[in-house]
């Protein structure tokens, strides 16, 4: 009985790193994890849009998640990964520092995100999960990948010019 309950109340999350924090996205939203590959820049897009890649024949946009959250960008390393996620019917690659873990997160460990966590606006987060000795920040991809925001940012930028 208790076992049943735990099965139902867990989510599987892909864990990745940005700076020194651990983040998680629901495994159902993740298509694949790719090594860094050549990115073609797309002119006149917001700075966090790094461009497009050839993902097995499909042209897929890639954003830098650090820059998406206004965190300082970093040099890419061997560890750098592109997590291909799908949300809002969009398929987008997110550049993260590294990604190497899949864990089960019991939903009862998830708490609403505090107003500011590592500089990321709470609206981009689904919550924070406290596991034994780690803290996992769960992303709300629908918000992170909201295309409206791209347009808003672009307009802002164009007005500024």
């Amino acid at each position: 009985m208790s076992e049943m309950k735990t099965v139902e109340t867990e989510i599987k999350a892909i864990v990745f790193q940005l700076i020194d924090e651990e983040y998680g996205v629901d495994v159902h939203q993740v298509r694949s994890i790719e090594r860094l590959q050549e990115i073609t820049r797309v002119p006149r897009t917001p700075a966090f849009v790094k461009g497009v890649i050839n993902l097995r024949g499909v042209v897929t946009p890639v954003i830098d998640l650090r820059s998406r959250f206004d965190l300082p960008e970093a040099e890419h390393t061997d560890e750098t990964r592109i997590i291909i996620v799908r949300a809002n019917e969009l398929e987008v690659g997110m550049i993260v520092d590294s990604a190497n873990d899949v864990i089960d997160v019991p939903t009862n460990t998830i708490e609403p995100a505090p107003k500011v966590v590592g500089g990321i606006d709470a609206e981009y987060l689904d919550g924070v999960a406290k596991l034994e000795n780690r803290l996992l920040i769960l992303l709300n991809l629908d918000k992170v990948l909201n295309p409206e925001e791209i347009i808003a940012l672009r307009e802002f930028k164009e007005k500024g010019e």
Binding site: E38, T40, V42, R44, V52, V58, E89, V92
Partner: protein
């Protein structure tokens, strides 16, 4: 039952049938006496009726049913094909199309069909030609009876039985007509044998009649007795029992010997059978065309796979070039040939004849010309020309607009034409043909042509240009003004054109399909709009260029020329760099600056320039290098990056890298 899985099939098939009805209606209009066409239409309407009834689209079923009745009446010679009939049938087809479209877009396909159903049913009853009805009825009966029924009648007369026709009129308020019919037939059955009924028994059972029907029967009884028996059924208004004179059936005179009559009957039976078999043959040939229906999505999947193959081919080509290995090069070359054949084959699979679009136009022109009091003959040629499905779906609207334009502005009123020494009937020629990798569609009218002065005047009025420039323009340039936005030459805004959507919309639509449009005109003789379209949208020819370290693709259809000019040839106009390109002043744009490409330190003496055009305006783009021409597969950037400035899509090059395709429309000011 889950109907959704059948919906696709239903939609496909009903589209097909509607298409067929439409085509045949056009044929029928030109050849109203041809019964085989009526049969074709009947068949389509019948299938459509069955399908929609099964799917539960009642309005569709009702309307097709009534159409069927009218068509059947035509087949049986009860009514003639008149203008009204054709108009009403066309109207019905329009409504049917509307309903099917509604179903496609997820609606319930419900429409108010009552009015048109009434109209059809009054046509069916021949109310437009009432005097024919009475006298023709006995002849009609003769036609309705088949040879078998006739011979039964003949035999029963020989056996001393009497044939009768019984006319039953039910009360107008009769509620359960089918039940009433059943009771009447039951009553008759006790006294006589029913040979034939009009409408047929099936229709009677389904209440597919107004309130009156006729039965042919044989009986040993007295007519009065039959009448009494039927009258005893309630809600029967009146019953007329008339003895049937068999000799009137075939129209053969009485003094001819019976033997001759039978022979005659057999003969005609044979011939009619012959006829039916030949038409049957034709039909099987037509439908047995060894085709199969494939979902367009599956073709798209195939196309995507093929696109990957093209990309890999490009990769192999460059590897083979680098390695310079004899066998490898040979194999790659062979593969290149194979894939280009495969590409052709794939493309042809996606091709559909433009007839699909053209078909609706005769009808449209017909009603437009009526509306405007003009006489117009629409001549369509090249309807069999095939175009990619993606283009077919998009090209309809612009063509409608151009044709309306020709009818409204092009062709003059009959009187004016007569005064100008022309035939009263104007001609609009709609032509499609193939050439190379392009399709050409032309719309030519023999009307008054474009009034140069009027166009100029309007253009100046609308602040599209000033007088000084106007004086310098040649005819061609002036005609191009028609495509400027906000332009309309119509003095008065008519219902047909000038609704605020001008030819500029047509133009941008065609350009979005990668095509071009131009117009030529001879005053007093007419004008001609020519459209050039690529065969397909998914594979396009581009020129690859370098801007800094980045590679971009420019569609060849946008490129006027690529040239190299010395830097000293750059001039300034209003502080903007321009060049003199074949006598024209063309603005010069640095692609690197516009796209924000990181500058590379190069100081060459010359500029590599690609001159691109959007309609008639041109821009010279400074690039760093020409790489070459190539066929690429157009890939969307995806919804996340919608409406990126100056980028219309992407493609994957031979080395696997993504390269962006420039949208020159954004780059031209």
């Amino acid at each position: 039952m889950d109907m959704n899985q059948y919906l696709d099939v239903f939609v496909d098939e009903s589209r097909e049938h509607l298409q067929a009805i439409h085509e045949n209606m056009v044929r029928l209009e030109n050849d109203p006496a041809e019964i085989s066409i009526v049969n074709e239409i009947f068949r389509s309407a019948h299938t459509l009726k069955g399908m929609s009834a099964t799917m539960g689209f009642e309005d569709l079923a009702n309307l097709t049913h009534q159409m069927e009745n009218v068509l059947d009446a035509i087949r049986q010679d009860k009514i003639q094909v008149s203008d009204l009939t054709v108009d009403t049938l066309f109207e019905s087809v329009d409504l049917l199309e509307e309903m099917v479209e509604s179903i496609i877009s997820g609606g319930d396909g419900k429409r108010d069909v009552e009015g048109i159903v009434k109209k059809l049913s009054s046509i069916e009853k021949g109310e437009e030609i009432p005097e024919q009805q009475g006298s023709a009825s006995s002849n009609t009966l003769g036609d309705e009876l088949d040879e078998f029924q006739k011979s039964i009648l003949q035999q029963s007369v020989d056996q001393g039985l009497h044939p009768f026709t019984v006319d039953v009129q039910l009360e107008k308020t009769c509620m359960l007509k089918a039940a009433r019919v059943y009771m009447i037939f039951d009553a008759i059955g006790q006294l006589a044998e029913v040979i034939h009924s009009s409408p047929p028994v099936g229709d009677l059972e389904e209440e597919k009649f107004e309130d009156r029907f006729t039965v042919t029967l044989i009986s040993s009884q007295d007519p009065e007795e039959i009448k009494a028996k039927i009258s005893s059924v309630s809600e029967v208004d009146s019953v007329k029992v008339n003895p049937l004179d068999l000799s009137t059936l075939d129209g053969t005179s009485e003094n001819e010997s019976e033997a001759a009559a039978t022979v005659e009957a057999v003969k005609s039976a044979e011939t009619s059978e012959d006829k039916s078999t030949t038409s049957e043959d034709k039909k099987t040939k037509a439908t047995n065309n060894k085709t199969m229906r494939v979902n367009i999505n599956r073709l798209d999947v195939l196309m995507n796979l093929f696109e990957e193959l093209v990309i890999d081919r490009g990769r192999l080509e460059s590897i083979a070039k680098d390695l310079n290995h004899h066998h490898l090069t040979e194999t790659v070359e062979h593969m290149t040939r194979l894939t280009s054949d495969l590409q052709d084959a794939l493309l042809t699979m996606r091709m559909v004849p433009i007839d699909q679009v053209f078909n609706r136009f005769p009808r449209m022109i017909r009603s437009l010309s009526k509306e405007l009091g003009k006489k117009i003959d629409l001549v369509i040629t090249g309807g069999e020309t095939e175009l990619d499905r993606t283009v077919i779906d998009e090209i309809g609207d612009p063509l409608v607009h151009l044709l309306r334009n020709s009818v409204d502005h092009g062709i003059e009123l009959p009187e004016k034409r007569r005064n100008a020494g022309k035939q009263e009937e104007g001609t609009i020629a709609l032509t499609a043909y193939h050439s190379g990798n392009h399709i050409y569609i032309e719309i030519e009218d023999d009307g008054g042509g474009i009034n140069r002065e009027k166009v100029l005047q309007k253009a100046i009025e609308n602040n599209i240009l000033d007088e000084a420039t106007a004086q310098m323009m040649d005819d061609h340039e002036i005609y191009q003004l028609l495509f400027a936005s906000g332009f309309s030459t119509a003095d008065t805004v008519s219902d047909i054109s000038g609704r605020g959507v001008g030819l500029d919309v047509v133009k941008s639509k065609i350009e979005s399909l990668g095509g071009t449009i131009s117009v030529t005109s001879v005053p007093g003789k007419g004008s001609k709009f020519s459209i050039e379209l690529p065969l397909t949208l998914s594979i396009l020819s581009v020129m690859l260029i370098k801007a800094g370290a980045e590679i971009y693709a420019i569609p060849l259809s946008n490129i006027v020329e690529s040239i190299i000019i010395p830097k000293s040839a750059v001039m300034k106009a209003h502080h903007m760099p321009v060049i003199d390109f074949r006598g024209k002043v063309v603005p010069l744009v640095s692609l690197k600056d516009t796209l924000g490409v990181e500058a590379t330190e190069e100081d060459k003496e010359n500029h590599s320039i690609v001159v691109v055009r959007k309609g008639d305006s041109m821009t010279a783009l400074i690039v760093d290098d020409f790489i070459g021409q190539q066929e690429v597969v157009l890939k969307p950037l995806g919804d996340y990056l919608k409406n990126v400035f100056a980028i219309s899509g992407a493609t994957i090059l031979g080395d696997g890298k993504v390269s962006l395709i420039l949208d020159c429309n954004d780059l031209i000011k």
